[in-house]
Symmetry: D2
Subunit: 319 residues, 4 copies
């Protein structure tokens, strides 16, 4: 037994979490930090995210997969953009579709996952787990999108440019696309076809010129990656957003210095969505000295919690 090594391993005793009334979210996270398993991992993720957001020379990437905007997570992302905590957003079509629906004043509703879907179909209600969306909302979305598309220049555009134009036509401070357009934060969505925004683009394109280049975004995206002095990524879920952010480091001489993922995906299915951040180190996507952490828990719980704690720490620092 190598007692020295062993001693190192036994230097940090678990401290049981103490819970009292009226404690703040940051106080709760500080209690988590003495604990292990998910609680300990989340506390470490908060530390990393705080350091990453406070780091002035770090370019902040944000990967937003899943269907977080219909579940009520759009204000958080919009506010992070507004406050300069997101420099580059990569997301899915679904997230942008539902952000736009809400920005048009159309609501999603709390429903149930234990419901007769054929009955819902008859009532013209679309379900996203326990969220209901009246199918009629899409008619209004379609009109809006056709209007935006009609106003686009006929020259060749990138997907990012299309999303910026949508954002410019929205008037809702809680909107991710509106806030991103306002703040000049680029929003990338490599699979935009794979959404109602894409279906509407197809319909528009059937009768009108509509030139969107699939690879046009990559030049400016890669420039951002090259120019980053330091790079950090917060990844909500996996999918295209995670892979697109991480793969950029395959063709730059850099790697991520900070990386956090909030996910329920598992590594052993082998897909990139569930891959560990250690695996990303073998590819050079995440750096050898990077601070990284994966929190295996529902991101609708952990993202607000993490942001609440980090905002408190940044606020304390700034005052």
């Amino acid at each position: 037994m190598d007692s020295e090594t062993s001693c190192n391993k036994l230097s940090n005793p678990i401290k049981g979490a103490k819970i009292v009334p009226n404690m703040s979210v940051d106080e709760l996270v500080r209690e988590y930090s003495g604990c292990a398993f998910g609680a300990g991992r989340l506390a470490e993720a908060v530390d990393i995210y705080s350091e990453m957001l406070a780091s002035k020379n770090t370019t902040k990437f944000f990967g937003l997969a899943g269907a977080m905007t219909p579940a009520g997570m759009r204000n958080i992302v919009a506010d992070l953009i507004r406050d300069g905590h997101i420099d580059v957003l990569v997301t899915t079509g679904a997230n942008m579709v539902h952000d736009t629906v809400e920005a048009l004043g159309l609501h999603h509703y709390k429903g149930s996952d234990d419901v007769n879907d054929i009955q819902l179909r008859k009532e013209c209600i679309d379900r996203i787990y326990d969220v209901y969306l009246p199918d009629g909302h899409f008619t209004e979305l379609e009109e809006f999108l056709q209007g935006v598309y009609g106003g686009l220049p006929q020259e060749k555009l990138s997907i990012r440019q299309v999303l910026t134009e949508i954002g410019k036509n929205l008037d809702d401070d809680s909107s991710i696309l509106k806030t991103a357009a306002e703040m000049g934060v680029p929003v990338y969505c490599p699979a935009l076809q794979d959404s109602v925004i894409g279906l509407q683009a197809w319909l528009y394109k059937e009768g009108n010129p509509f030139n969107v280049d699939a690879f046009a975004d990559m030049h400016e995206f890669m420039d951002i990656c090259y120019e980053a002095e330091s790079a950090g990524a917060l990844l909500i879920g996996g999918g295209v957003p995670k892979n697109y952010i991480l793969q950029s480091m395959l063709v730059t001489p850099k790697s991520f210095d900070y990386a956090i993922q909030l996910t329920m995906d598992r590594p052993e299915t082998g897909g990139l969505s569930g891959a560990t951040l250690d695996e990303a180190q073998s590819w050079g996507k995440v750096g050898e000295e990077a601070r990284s952490m994966t929190v295996y828990a529902d991101a609708t719980i952990t993202l607000p919690l993490m942001v609440a704690a980090v905002r408190t720490r940044l606020f304390e620092k700034s005052t």
Copy 2:
């Protein structure tokens, strides 16, 4: 389309979570309550747990599976017992072993799940995911347990009685067993053999009379169930604790009025650990009118969070 039904389904719009510095845990939970998916479920679980704890005529069951005590969750459980929020605890041997280890002043340590376990073996360190435990601690635990066993009466005992005796011999306010013994809260552990406490019992029994009746607890446990005017259960993980608590309702004319589970287990493997609380309704374990909720997320994150919010609400009510 049945517009009336449909209208009912569309009465509760999703409200995006708004996160600000210094917000309290309960304020965070109130933001969750406008959201869907895990966030919405957790907010609902907090509402149910608040109502359940405030209900004077409800007997409160607590199921504690997994390995929550080495991860830092014992203070929370001990404090819930102390404050009268747990009337009956059902748990695993592992949770009681590690509660006792800590109560003897021996620590668990924060480690890593990404480690060479054969090297750990050489360093005499036992690993529980990312928790390290020096193997030597078990020597002290064994001495303590042999002492307790030596002081037990030779008549026939129940498992609950053995655990009460262990609790009486501990001097640590953070200990679940000590607090339960002090407060007269029974701790049931149907598979006590399946733990180091059980292994030590076997060793003791090799040379001494040791009479523990496997079924002796059931009379008093069933009396509690029968006498409960109303019944509520908070289930952390599945396993024996969940099943033992729920099965009691198979032989009483009642069912649980409140049921909450915090788990990562999935229903489709068919085991009781991941079974939905709806499934429990088919058996009559959970009542037709019960308030119930499952939160699919790491319990080391959700249990402290839920308790922090509920404590705030109960505190406000009491002042």
Copy 3:
């Protein structure tokens, strides 16, 4: 770059699975063996299990958690016992309850997990995921168990003895308990109270002497562990069966030489159910040189598949 090490790591190319009509299960597994992820892991598990079953001096432990018997897995286990492939079975009360129900000629039925459980309750049907069980079956089970209990000797018994007696009273070659009793294979169930068998024991004990010692099994179980020249374990799910089998090695100077687990549980919740077999090496439960493998997939799929392949290999060897 250490080219030598690297070469070692790159010695075994992935071979794409080739699927043809009429292939045997073992041929399928041989195709898996060229693949990675779950397929590769399952092929390796089959290799290990074949070697383990063919090893004459290896004591074979079988851990059966979850609710595998109502799902149709009892014949497989009974046949493994009959053929000498299981020396020691550790299981849950639920598995033995539903084995007994079937052995009494009472059926479980294929149902649906997407059903109104309150309606099921009204129809007196109990649900286990997508299995239905008429509640009335329990009346017959109860009569049977009361009869068995009435015939038990009044002296102190172990849980294993109670289960052997139940098995002796059954007449169904597909029954695990009947086959185990016939073959002299011990069945351990540390948490027997946690089942309908336990609830009936409580009812019987209310009016009759019924002496079952909670720790009586441990002497004979530990003797088996001590006497094992070599030890192997196949673990279906986690729970008490997994822990009880593995913990035996904490108090013997040995460790498991073969260990396979088929599970959907995840390591990061920290409970023993999802713990890796590497973690078990830190405790000395699984040996440094052991062959071990975890397959993360539904055990109702992987257990029959693995047994079909292993039976083919053993059959070929014997002919």
Copy 4:
């Protein structure tokens, strides 16, 4: 109790699986069919897939997410295409990258998920769970892709056309892209930018004209959907392939008549990857009368198994 309804629910007894040496995969699946949980679901999926493949007027969609080609699943997909069992393939860039790597005679290797990734990085080995890939392979892939891109016509292309051109330049019967090109089966990959094929397109585009229209595929894809008399989908994992296939039914007057998904994703995270096929019914993506089934298990195990059984049944039918 409505005895009639109840009787209906209790008409199909569970039959325990009987496992014998040398049984064929289809025989194994027939044993599964008497079982519940994952085994029963898989047997039902085989029935549905057999019916779907035998249906002459059904257009067969295949969604391939994750990283199935490096794990050894490409031959299966290529053979399904060759035999007319896939009419439309929607997949990820990663699957096509690794298909192409293999088609160039470059191998992936069986490795370990329990490895030091920083050491792998030093050895220039990229890891995909337990698959190793020498980083140098990408140099050869890049040369190949630059050659293909150099030969592309300068007019506007669709992503499908780019993938067809890659396929035409490959000479490997196990290749998905080569076989699809040969058979005239379209391969769609909405997020092609999100892959090494995309990164190379960016590099090429920096110095050469390269016109790929992001939405050009949608016209022909929608035509296929419109013209389908009947439609069936086999979905391996979720992600863009699943959503892109299902969303087509939002703008056609049809819905899928057959739908099978093999996945480990969970519904409660709310993303489309884990969404149930029932949820898809509320949107009209899957029809009211459709035959559908989700199998929750590792697709590297279930896909080969399902294809082996279905091939046997189709073979029997044809002889």
